[in-house]
């Protein structure tokens, strides 16, 4: 998916919501266990119910790998089910030496038909380059994450700034605004102005809204740019909004609520 189409979809729906399909096999309503692939059945219903409120879906690979090969099948079926109007993100946080990253890129962009994959920066440019080489695919690099552990390395002084700033600054030269985004956690909105100063035009994928406590309002005010530049992800808050058979309706209601809020921020943001 190109940047132009992504922005067009956001403007059309007045939403920059990404729904995180962090589908824990143990949290699926009992009635779905009658199906051959309960995880896929769950995802399908969440997708059907939330499609009009969001512009992206993010599958966290850990939730699928925990079921081994069967989990990878559920993941594959889910990616194929998501319509091409929506950005399909593999939240995989991969990263290895060049020839290995080439295989990871092939796994997520070819074997599975994801549009985007999250990658870790530690091993540097050649670990990220193979992902960037695909046309109309996105590399989403970890910048500043939402967890407590971000304080251990990401927020420590590194060369002429903090480590995460160095990562964003350097990686901005490897990719473009057309093929590179950054993961910026929602739990640290006070950092968004500093980050926008380093990467003003890139899209940010912002997880941590909802269950992790990040404020959608504050993030939107600080991080929206003239081309929107923002995908905000909510996972647990949406997919586990209900635990009964009406789980999809409840998910839709929460997603609709986020989208309605986003429409307001899009309208009130002068730069958009």
């Amino acid at each position: 998916m190109t940047r132009a189409i992504l922005i067009e979809q956001i403007r059309l729906k007045q939403s920059y919501l990404c729904v995180g399909l962090d589908t824990d096999p143990e949290k699926i309503p009992h009635s779905l266990h009658a199906f051959a692939d309960p995880v896929f059945e769950f995802n399908k219903r969440i997708i059907d119910a939330t499609l009009e409120h969001c512009i992206a879906y993010k599958l966290n690979t850990a939730f699928y790998e925990v079921s081994g090969a069967a989990g990878w099948e559920s993941m594959q079926k889910t990616v194929e089910y998501i319509p091409s109007t929506h950005l399909k993100i593999a939240d995989a946080k991969r990263g290895d030496i060049g020839n290995t990253s080439t295989l990871y890129a092939r796994a997520f962009f070819e074997t599975l038909s994801f549009d985007a994959v999250t990658v870790a920066p530690y091993m540097g440019e050649d670990s990220i380059r193979p992902f960037l080489e695909y046309t109309n695919k996105w590399t989403i690099l970890l910048g500043l994450t939402s967890n407590a552990g971000a304080a251990d390395f990401e927020l420590q002084s590194h060369r002429d700034g903090l480590l995460y700033e160095s990562v964003i600054r350097k990686a901005s030269q490897w990719g473009t605004t057309e093929n590179l985004m950054f993961v910026i956690g929602a739990t640290r909105p006070e950092w968004f102005e500093r980050i926008r100063a380093i990467a003003p035009d890139h899209f940010y994928l912002v997880p941590g809204v909802g269950a992790q406590g990040g404020s959608l309002k504050e993030i939107s005010e600080k991080a929206l740019n003239k081309d929107v530049g923002l995908l905000v992800n909510a996972s647990r808050a949406i997919v586990y909004a209900g635990t009964g058979d009406d789980f999809a309706d409840r998910a839709a209601a929460i997603a609709a609520g986020y989208a309605a809020e986003m429409a307001v921020y899009l309208k009130s943001n002068a730069s958009v």
Copy 2:
């Protein structure tokens, strides 16, 4: 596998060789494509042929994920085929927020029966903690890697040293010598003395010997400690030693060569 058993196996075999099962489906001898699972068949023969020369096997997950669910099945069968005398390493380089890392740990330590998994440090302690909580399992944290990209962040100044030094220093407090190892690339043997000064007693997993050009002699002289403290991995140099039907014999010959060299270094190293 406990540290005591790992050391016992190394002393018994006089080898600290890890064979990397980086099995590229496209590089498997033609005759194996008659089997239902050519990758597993290839691995089985490599394992049978190299078992007596090595003490560990490392499966790089990228090489399996490129085949999707079928690849995960090959990986699962391979792990189950490796005898319990050998350390089974998932070279997965995972790392995510706590609740996600818990699922990755379960995927590799429970769904698949690996003894060890490689993880990335960027996201800090809570991304690594869930792996460390398993008894008799190993977390192998990226320290200094063998690729050119190590210069981008790992080898840059960070707080009171270089980033990779900070990672090793801090993580040494999170895990013990009984459950934590570090990945240290073979292509930078000149760094081993500095690294041993920071983590004198931990095991290091050293990839990059063979195809990537690292010197086994230099690494062994600089990194062996009184409990050996070293696993040296070779992947392509062993598994692709031959391209014909005698590939397993050729792999065994190369593995035997490494092991013979290691026996010499073990004997000549005063501290072992």
